[in-house]
Amino acid sequence: MSTTVTKAQIDARLIMPFVNSTRNVLQTMLGLATTIDRPRIKSVPAPEYDYSAIIGFSGQIVGVVVVSFRRETAIKMVNAFAGDEVEPDSSDFSDAIGELANMIAGAAKKDLGGVASISVPTVILGKGHIVARPSDIPCMVIPCKTEAGEFAVEISIKQA
């Protein structure tokens, strides 16, 4: 199945703030340099992850942003963030995942060109889950690589 997405539907002005905020948050809080591969439309079938943090946007910008990790990467990143070993699947672990997503979304918010609110994060824990997005908004994946492993920032937002 192929989906034709016009350039008008993918607004780079909505993607770049997340590229910048991801780099900034990872470097500042985790001391990790992030290599960002070229953003692309999310593939079908979607990849599976073990931890995802979801932030909803409402107001002049609407949609969802999801930061997803496989288990090994999540463990390394949470431990780097906390400066200590955090028990995977504990409430502290999911708090840390949520806080990382909150900072990535929060730092991007001011550069999106509209007044928006972001929700508190919802964290999904579960081996091999898939997060699907509103189908009327193209989902752009920002593939990220660090020493701790790869993760994805997936953006499905648009001007309301």
Partner: protein, 150 residues
């Protein structure tokens, strides 16, 4: 606000109005270990939380077939996700109508998997209602946070 009765009534209303299917209360939660889809909408503003609607492939496919006027065999994963997202959106929208003014509803997101859980840091589960529509199990959950969303 007492949530259980409101959520039940709203879910019944949406199931009847949109799907023309029965929805009854179920005493026990669905068994674990089965593949399910969960659609989640966030509510932000004067009240903050999330509403999640969970069911198996069968219910999602049946909903998609009814809502999008498709043959059951022709229902895709995307159709199922869209249908469930729309149902959560409708229930969430009706929950929002009961809340203080100045609340916003996020667009829905859908999670699929076998053994997963939702956690909203700083929130608590205030309502979890197992239900049944024919042979299908459906669960509606409401999480409440007192955090003021950014």
């Amino acid at each position: 606000m007492q949530y259980d009765d409101h959520i039940k009534q709203l879910a019944l209303f949406v199931w009847d109005a949109v799907l023309h299917l029965p929805l009854d209360e179920e005493e026990t939660s669905p068994p674990v270990g089965q593949r399910t889809l969960s659609a989640c909408v966030h509510i932000t503003g004067a009240w903050n939380g999330a509403l999640a609607l969970t069911c198996g492939d069968g219910m999602a496919a049946e909903s998609a077939a009814i809502m999008f006027d498709l043959e059951r065999a022709g229902v895709s994963i995307s159709d199922m996700q869209d249908a469930l997202g729309e149902l959560a959106n409708m229930i969430g929208g009706n929950v929002k109508a009961l809340l203080p003014e100045h609340c916003h509803l996020s667009l829905p997101m859908v999670v699929e998997g076998i053994d997963y859980s939702f956690r909203v840091p700083g929130s608590r589960l205030v309502s979890r209602i197992p239900m049944r529509s024919g042979e299908h199990r459906v669960t509606v959950s409401l999480l409440e946070s007192d955090a003021v969303a950014a």
